[in-house]
Chain length 328, copies 4
């Protein structure tokens, strides 16, 4: 039985607590949150103790911690948990600064604790199955990857201003997905972008519509597009063209109902809410973490993957500002 | 070069003339129609002579005739053409009376002329490919066949009244398709029906919504539904469930455009107009006829297939009126 | 907080226990099973007491019972629970005998306890959304309903022999779905069937491939097909043709991955396992039951729906044996 | 009746002759080809005269010419036909040199003759319907365009060597499509590419896998990918993301047949042969040309569109060789 301490009892912390509740071989023993009520509600439901974050990390009743707190707290919690010898499940991004992530890599490596960077999309059953079949050689060498990722609607301008920009906040998921599907690291990034959805986003110094081209040393090419607004739902698609075939994973729709009228055959929109769209992924990432820690196997994506995605986001940000491709 | 005489220069005759125009190894040499203007227009376009129907049949410049005249004239034209030794392409139905079709079978058999009953749907590239793959054994033994066939909108009541009823006028295509896909003849027919689309159709003694269950001696089952109204286009689908797999052929849509909005993902409606939906089929049935006659191969479906479909339509009509299954 | 007592801790009981674990406003307080180990495992996980079935029903700590025991025990448990004033969630079928179901209706009605017949498919988010949109009038009057329901593979012959036959064991779900979608009760049933999948099923007096036609007093028609074997997964589809449009709900596939090769564009097979295919439905039916009992609203489908489906199954069985349509 | 002279009786010339044969208001009066047999075969079929190219252009029996000869002959034929006052339908590319196209623009403009650059894909019913609906405002402002265009297999290396490179030979169609869908001209081109399909293509100085990013002055972005090899057929897809919705036009498959087995649900591959894939487009472009000339309306795309696409191809070629984005 792996005993989990949950740091952060907000929306995503709640999702992880439910995943633990229906999974064998794991239990939630302690929770912490800056808002005691949020912690108490989760504790009541799961029979866990409410403690301070430090106490959770120090507790002998805790084997592993889930870090689901605001990004700027990750750095300290990772250091403390690693030094306490706890296995670490950390929400993305690890940190907003690549240098600080390098510090985290150092402490995690030094202490030898298991670490999972929670890029949830790798655990989506659709994308996971697709990637496994690439790995199995079904389409041969990967040549062209296309990733389309569009949010239903933009976040508040106040959020945009402190988000680090679209490449670090939103496309970072796609950079990780690109590495996952390409099976190698990009060596060049070229980015373009515009503020088309909302001019205030442009005024805040960011773009809301962006396209990136990645190239690898083997010659594979990856195109990514992001938009902060897709009226038809949370648009999440990948496509991989290989020497022997092409894989696609399309959108997950709200349901399978199709209406035929004079206007045509109309299927449901894509699921709008990311927690619902990736519900199975959130469950699977906890299951993977529990299995990796319990069976002493490497957790993946690891902390190096968190760093690699951040470096791509930094390079894209630079490319957009300079108008030039950036080498990595 | 196979020389064709066209009897009937209406809408379907025009379609056949265009098919001949783009096909190698065949030409249109003579045309006939009760309306001389219609005949003349086709003749001008194709460089053919305008003659009477009798003269077309008698002409030494004609190797084969296409009978595209009103159904009640088929009987005499088939007899005349068979006796003149012409190959015959005859629009469906061969006749409204099974007994009169039997007479036609007799004369065609006695004279030994090639004969094609123009059940165009067998030549649809989709249904033809599906059936060929059943024949090739891809899904093993056929167990369940489902045929859905729905018109965009009902014909005028005046047409309904003299149509012979929905089973002889509309479902006859599906009876032929059922035989084509089952690969054997039904031994029992059970029919139900209602006048739901238009009460005047009920007042005219017919139904506009009908469902039939066919069973064969091997135990295979076929379900057919017809409606005289489908607001989403000309609905033409088949599905065949076998021991080793299942084949489907869905609707042919107006185009491949899909619109995604908050209402969902909307594809185009099904093609509405039967001449457009079955455009490729009309071309293919002429090509098959020309090839069969030219290379001295059997044309299929033959006149016996025209009779078999009519017998199923008669049995369904009887089943609807008695409320009982009818054995064949 | 609604306190649930679970009778039967087998596969489906386990599913319900997990649904309760992630749902607010409900908890599992007591469990019972003929195999104490099975009960103990569930109790440990959920913090519930292990009791005898009688003690669960009698317990003041139990507001409602879930009956997930073998069908032949339902009758007594329903009587006991109703007399104890407990709300009842009962797996389908209520009983194999329509007369005995009538007894259950009587006691449930007399005691005035809430009762849900667990026809899980009504709670599938796809079928539920489709039916709600019919109710909302989106396609106008319902004219033709088509239900295709095919299992991945047949159960053991030993199960077939005591199953009550395909109509009572398998198609009963589709009879309930037909009533749900038609919005009215059928007045005539016609059934055909064959043993095509396995001749031993025929030797056991049953069929494995069956087709039924239902008609209602308004003239609506419903066609249902069942097969005990679909190599492509658990095939569960419905289609409803109405005056103003047509609704379909297709299969739920294992994932969204599509592979394009020279063989074509290949999507995943349908989910094979019914517990996985209807995972969301199982959660939703518990949620509906909890909400109905808690808020004092009628649970649906109720015990009368359980009886109605059984009567249709009995009529289909009679139709198959007599070769005639059966009036209800 | 518009009288057409056909220059070039090869594969594409043959396609145009068939289009003319089934179209009202137009006839083929004269044909020319460097190979007299090819010209004679077409002439026989269509009742046209075989002449030299010069004589076709000079003929008073010819109102318009179709230039379907090798690209290096276009320049002289355009000049001659324009000076003879003939309407001109010219296969793409107009010429391999932008400067020489500018000369052609000059003579066509000076003589005031109608001119159609035969970018056939604009006439595909799918892409045409999609673009018309963008124009009608259905998805609001265009923000992101994605064009995927992949050939079934690469041409011979000998062809590659004299093709002008992938951007001028293959992606030129997509550059025209990008302009068609964007509704404005790109101001920057960035291209990457690799020789992944066949190293000999790389040895010949070209790439076989390429990706381009276009940006416009309004901030719209277009991504294009090309591959010289797609094992699943001739892959031709476009997608347009706008403020109010998203349009897609997927591949045209060989047929509608779908096979369901344990491997999943498999649809047919995309049509492989470009003449078959774009059959309807070839017919529609002739029809548009005939209507434009006959009714004295502008033909579109015109010769300026031929020039604009060539300039984009030149810029992409430069971007690939320099590794930098190129401004237009």
């Amino acid at each position: 039985m792996l005993r989990i301490g949950l740091l952060g009892c907000g929306r995503i912390g709640h999702v992880h607590a439910l995943s633990i509740a229906v999974l064998d071989g794991v239990c939630l023993t302690a929770v912490a949150d800056a808002f005691p009520d949020a912690a108490q509600r989760l504790a009541d439901r799961n029979g866990a103790a409410v403690l301070s974050a430090d106490a959770v990390i120090a507790s002998p009743e805790v084997d592993a911690v889930i870090i689901a707190t605001p990004t700027d707290t990750h750095y300290d919690l990772i250091h403390a948990a690693a030094r306490a010898g706890k296995a670490i499940f950390c929400e993305k991004p690890v940190d907003m600064s690549a240098d600080r992530i390098r510090d985290c890599v150092a402490v995690v490596t030094a202490e030898g604790v298991p670490f999972l960077t929670a890029f949830n999309r790798r655990f989506d059953p659709n994308f996971a199955a697709l990637q496994a079949r690439i790995q199995a050689g079904e389409i041969g060498r990967v040549e062209l990857v296309t990733i389309m990722s569009r949010d239903p609607s933009p976040p508040p301008i106040s959020y945009i201003a402190r988000s680090g920009g679209i490449f670090r906040d939103m496309m970072i998921h796609d950079f990780d997905m690109a590495r996952f599907l390409l099976g190698e690291d990009p060596v060049q990034v070229f980015a373009v972008g515009s503020a088309l959805v909302d001019p205030e986003i442009g005024a805040a110094g960011d773009v809301d519509t962006a396209a990136v081209t990645l190239t690898t040393s083997s010659g594979a090419i990856c195109q990514i597009t992001n938009s902060r607004r897709a009226v038809y739902g949370y648009d999440q698609r990948v496509e991989v063209h290989g020497a022997k075939g092409m894989f696609r994973a399309g959108n997950v729709l709200e349901n399978t109902v199709e209406l035929a009228t004079g206007a045509g055959f109309c299927a449901a929109p894509a699921k709008h809410f990311f927690l619902e769209r990736y519900e199975a992924a959130y469950r699977a990432e906890i299951a993977h973490f529990v299995e990796a820690v319990t069976r002493n196997l490497p957790a993946s994506p690891g902390i190096q993957d968190g760093l690699a995605a951040q470096l791509l986001a930094d390079a894209a940000t630079l490319s957009l500002s300079t108008g030039r491709p950036v080498a990595l």
